[in-house]
C-alpha cells in the first residue's frame, strides 16, 4: 500500500525480493498497488499487505487516508492476512504517532503501542543494525539499516533482541513487533535483501493458509548469506 509514497530507502525492493523468491520456485505471485485516494479494495482477499516507510510529510498526507482503510485492514488482519510493515508503515499501525512538531498523527490502533518523535529533528537513530530473532523456530541474526526519529514504546512482542544498533527506541534492547501474521520493523536495507529467512517465513505462512504444508524448495542464497556474513563479521567483531 502507498508504494508510490512510502518507499524511502529502497523499501520497494522488499516486494521485488518476495516476487523473485516466488518466481524462482514457480509460485504465482501478483502485487497490486493501492494509492492514496483510490477505491478501497477488499484487503481480506490478499495474502500479504505491505506498507513501507516515508518522510514525515508523506506520512501526514497518508494518515487520513489510512484511517479510511482501517476497517478493511483490520478485517484482513483478523482473518489472518500477513502484515509486513517497515518504519513509517510500522508506526502508522499504532494508536498515534507524534511528529517532530508535536502534531499527533492518529494511527490505526491495531496494536497496543505508540511512537513519539524526538523533540529535535537532529536526534535520529541512524545505524546498521543486527537483531537476533527466533520467529522461524531457529536462532537467526538479521541485518538491516535503521534510520528513524520515532521512538516506539510499549511493544510487548518484539521481533528480536538488538545485538548492534538502536531498535525501537534509541539504544533499546528490542527491535520491531511480531505476531504470527505480523512482522513490523525499522529495518530498511531493504530488510529482505540479506535475510532470506524473513521472506521465506512470510511465503510459507501464505502458502499454509492456502492449505499447502510443503517445505519451500531451497534457493541458492550464497550471495545473500555472504552479504549478511560480511556485515555480521564487521559489526559484531569484538
Amino acid at each position: 500500500m502507498y508504494g508510490d509514497m512510502l518507499d524511502l530507502y529502497g523499501d520497494s525492493g522488499n516486494m521485488e525480493i518476495i516476487q523473485y523468491r516466488c518466481r524462482m520456485r514457480g509460485i504465482d505471485c501478483t502485487v497490486d498497488g493501492y494509492s492514496l485516494g483510490s477505491e478501497i479494495p477488499d484487503l481480506s482477499k490478499y495474502d500479504l499487505i505491505y506498507i513501507g516507510g516515508g518522510a514525515d510529510l508523506e506520512q501526514q498526507h497518508i494518515s487520513a487516508d489510512l484511517l479510511r482503510c482501517r476497517d478493511s485492514i483490520k478485517a484482513a488482519y483478523e482473518s489472518g492476512v500477513f502484515l509486513f510493515l517497515i518504519c513509517g508503515g510500522y508506526q502508522l499501525m499504532f494508536k498515534y504517532y507524534r511528529d517532530a512538531d508535536g502534531n499527533d498523527i492518529p494511527g490505526l490502533g491495531l496494536f497496543d503501542y505508540c511512537t513519539v518523535a524526538p523533540s529535535s529533528r537532529k536526534m535520529r537513530c541512524i545505524s546498521n543494525i543486527v537483531v537476533r530473532t527466533h520467529f522461524t523456530g531457529k536462532e537467526v541474526d538479521i541485518v538491516g539499516f535503521e534510520n528513524h526519529g520515532g521512538q516506539t514504546q510499549g511493544v510487548r512482542t518484539p521481533l528480536g533482541e538488538v545485538l548492534f544498533g538502536n531498535g525501537n527506541c534509541s539504544r533499546s534492547k528490542y527491535e520491531g513487533y511480531f505476531e504470527k501474521n505480523v512482522i513490523a520493523t525499522y529495518m530498511h536495507g531493504p530488510c529482505l535483501s540479506k535475510n532470506p529467512e524473513i521472506s521465506d517465513y512470510m511465503i510459507s505462512y501464505c502458502l499454509k493458509r492456502h492449505g499447502s504444508d510443503d517445505e519451500l524448495a531451497p534457493l541458492d542464497d550464497r550471495l545473500e548469506n555472504e552479504c549478511r556474513q560480511v556485515m555480521l563479521d564487521r559489526l559484531l567483531k569484538k
Partner: protein, 447 residues
C-alpha cells in the same frame, strides 16, 4: 580578538603547507571551535558572493561560473577542491584574507553543501543562490530529504537576493515561494529531449505537491522526477522561465538556451541542465556571449565522470554514481550502446558515501540490454550483487571480487566494451586500480 583568531588560522594553514599537506578543512575546523561555530563571520567580504547548491552538478556549475568571471578578467575566489562545508569555506577564506579578515576579490564563487547553506550565509552576505536539484543522496547523513529542503527553505524565507532555481524539479522550484516578497526569483527549464518519457521511469522524490499534497501532473519526465510539472489544484509550477533550453540533441551534442546555440563536449541531459544554470548566471551578470560560448562549449570533466580508459584493448567508461539518479543515467548510456558489454559496479559504504546502501534498490537494473557479465566490488560488493540478482539478472553471470585489483583483472579478462560504476569514495580507488592495470598490461588512460 578577531585579528588573533585570523592569525591563528593562517598559522595553521602555513604549518600545513610547510608539511605539504592540503589545508582543506583543518584550519576551518580549528577556527570553528574557537568561534563556537561562527567561523565564517570572522571575515569581511565586500564583493558579491554567488553560491551553488543541490545534490548533483554543484562542482560542474561552480567551476563554469568561475570561468565566466575569470575569462571576463575578474579576480575570483572559488573552492575548487570541493571543500563545500562551512569549515572548508572558512579554510578557503583564511587563505585569501589579510590579517584583519578582509577578503580581496571581485567575486566569491562557492560550491556549498545543501545542509550548510543556512549556516554559511547567515554569516556571509549572499548575493545569488543557485539551486540545481534535490535527489536522494546520502540520506542517512542528512536525515530525510524533506528536512534538508526545510532548512534551505527556512533560509530562503528571508533571503532577498537572486534565487536561480531549477524550474523542472518540484523539490527545488518550491523554494521560489519561500519569500513572496523576493522579486529576484528566476527559474531555468528545459524542453523535452529524445529520451524524455510520459511516465516516471526511476524511483524518485517529490511526486506530490508540497503545498497541497495533490499528485503533480507532468507534461514529460526528462529523468527521475525532473520534467515539466504542474499542480492541477493549486497551480504550483506555473512560472515564466528566465532561461529555457530547447533543441536538445545529445548526438551532436547541441542545445539552445536564450536563443543561442551551444555545442558541448559532454552529452548528457544532466549537462544540459547544468549548463542552462550557467547560462542563467551569465545572463544575470551580463557576461559577454563570446565568453559564455567559450566556457560552455569547452567544458569537460576528468574525474571519474564518464571518463574513458582502455584496458589492454578494451574500451572502458568509468562513471561516478553517488545516488540512484547517477547510476540510472549510466545504465541508460550503457543501453544506448550497441553490442555486448560488461559492467563493474564498485560500492563502498564509508562515512562520506553514507553508511546506508539501500539506495541501490532504487536503481532500475531491469533495463539491462546485452549485458553479458557483471563484476561487483567494494566494501558492499555483495549488496550490489544481491540487488542485481533480484532484479532478475542471472546469478551465474555475477562475479563478486571485493578487492578492486582483482575486480579489474576479472572485468578485463574477457573481450568487449566495459562500463564501470563507482560510488563516491570508490571512484578514486577505482581510477587508481584501472591505472595500475593499464601500467601492468598496457592500454590508455583518459587524460
Amino acid at each position: 580578538m578577531n585579528r588573533i583568531l585570523i592569525l591563528t588560522g593562517k598559522a595553521v594553514v602555513g604549518i600545513l603547507r610547510l608539511f605539504r599537506r592540503n589545508a582543506g578543512n583543518l584550519p576551518g575546523i580549528i577556527l570553528w571551535h574557537l568561534t563556537k561555530g561562527k567561523a565564517c563571520s570572522m571575515f569581511r567580504v565586500d564583493c558579491p558572493i554567488i553560491a551553488v547548491t543541490g545534490t548533483n552538478g554543484k562542482t560542474s556549475v561552480t567551476n563554469c561560473i568561475a570561468q565566466l568571471f575569470e575569462q571576463s578578467g575578474k579576480k575570483i575566489i572559488i573552492n575548487r577542491e570541493g571543500n563545500n562545508l562551512d569549515t572548508g569555506i572558512c579554510s578557503l577564506l583564511l587563505r585569501y584574507c589579510d590579517s584583519s579578515g578582509k577578503v580581496d576579490a571581485d567575486y566569491l564563487i562557492l560550491e556549498t553543501d545543501e545542509s550548510h547553506v543556512p549556516v554559511v550565509y547567515s554569516q556571509l552576505k549572499l548575493e545569488t543562490l543557485i539551486v540545481l536539484d534535490f535527489f536522494r543522496d546520502q540520506l542517512d547523513r542528512n536525515g530525510e530529504m524533506e528536512t534538508l529542503i526545510q532548512k534551505i527553505n527556512g533560509f530562503c524565507k528571508t533571503f532577498e537576493g537572486n534565487l536561480i532555481l531549477n524550474g523542472d524539479d518540484p523539490n527545488t522550484a518550491r523554494l521560489g515561494r519561500a519569500n513572496p516578497a523576493n522579486k529576484n526569483v528566476k527559474y531555468f527549464h528545459a524542453e523535452p529531449y529524445a529520451f524524455a518519457t510520459d511516465t516516471i521511469y526511476e524511483a524518485s522524490e517529490g511526486r506530490f505537491c508540497p503545498f497541497c499534497g495533490s499528485s503533480l501532473e507532468y507534461d514529460y519526465y526528462q529523468y527521475s522526477h525532473i520534467g515539466r510539472f504542474r499542480c492541477p489544484k493549486c497551480g504550483f509550477g506555473d512560472y515564466k522561465p528566465y532561461i529555457t533550453a530547447s533543441g536538445i540533441d545529445l548526438d551532436k551534442p547541441v542545445f539552445t538556451a536564450d536563443g543561442h546555440e551551444y555545442s558541448t563536449k559532454l552529452n548528457s541531459i544532466y549537462n544540459v541542465y547544468n549548463m542552462t544554470a550557467v547560462v542563467a548566471a551569465a545572463k544575470l551578470y551580463g557576461i559577454e556571449q563570446s565568453v559564455t560560448d567559450s566556457v560552455i562549449n569547452n567544458y569537460t570533466v576528468n574525474n571519474g565522470r564518464m571518463e574513458k580508459f582502455i584496458l589492454g584493448d578494451r574500451e572502458t567508461t568509468l562513471n561516478l554514481a553517488k545516488n540512484p539518479v547517477g547510476a540510472n543515467m549510466t545504465l541508460r548510456v550503457m543501453n544506448e550502446q550497441n553490442g555486448e558489454k560488461e559492467l563493474l559496479f564498485v560500492l563502498n559504504d564509508n562515512v562520506a558515501d553514507g553508511l546506508d546502501v539501500s539506495w541501490i534498490w532504487d536503481i532500475n537494473f531491469t533495463i539491462f540490454e546485452r549485458v553479458t557479465r557483471v563484476v561487483t566490488s567494494g566494501t558492499r560488493a555483495y549488496d550490489i550483487a544481491v540487488r542485481i540478482k533480484c532484479s532478475g539478472y542471472p546469478a551465474e553471470k555475477i562475479t563478486v571480487r571485493p578487492e578492486l585489483d582483482d575486480a579489474v583483472e576479472e572485468l578485463a579478462k574477457t573481450p568487449g566494451r566495459k562500463f564501470v560504476i563507482a560510488n563516491y569514495t570508490a571512484v578514486q580507488p577505482t581510477r587508481s586500480a584501472l591505472k595500475r592495470y593499464i601500467a601492468k598490461h598496457g592500454g590508455e588512460c583518459g587524460e
